[in-house]
Amino acid sequence: MIRVQRKDFDVGAELKSLTNGNHQIGGLTSFVGLVRDIAGGQSVSAMTLEHYPGMTEKQLSAIEEEANRRWPLDASLIIHRHGRLEPGDQIVLVACASAHREAAFEACHFLIDWLKTKAPFWKLEGTPDGDNWVDSKSSDDDAAARWAKG
């Protein structure tokens, strides 16, 4: 399941509903991304996430389908927020449940790595020097490249 929304999410409730009643699940791995108050040595007072409505959902669904093709998952979830956020706010939740922990870990790691390079979101950071569009990181490209199929 994927969701793109402005409002916050409740990690506990989301994880609970993901596994609830499915007793084949042995492991649930999740990742929460949070707004930091510092980036590249500069203090950050706010972050505004712009996205491409329509394409975002299409890309997130494609990423999730790919994870389900690669690993035997019982459930998966991506929630990504957009709009104005402040330090400490939750940005994204990715979760994968499987019979065994390795599949849950790898699929969750894959989802966040791919999402970082494929999902059409852009971050505008508010700093004392003004607003800056965040540059993409080569480390994110490298992380996603690990999952490329040879």
Partner: protein
Amino acid sequence: MKLLYFAWVRTKTGTGEETVSPPDSVCDVADLIEWLKLRGSGAADAFSDPSLIRVAVNQDYVELDHPVIAGDEIAFFPPVTGG
């Protein structure tokens, strides 16, 4: 065709969305970018370094040699920074 701009591409072009009808000589994304650069200083600035621009046609990533036709939704934006 419908053009969409995001993030600093949007702030440089000065608009988030526009509808254009380029001449028949505009066959692919690269042609479209060259044509847009001739139309105004904002676009010329936004597209001054094409290596910084990512393109989606009908919400899928494409390369510069991807064909464009009337009715397409074509989006230009910087490398994504979500997650």
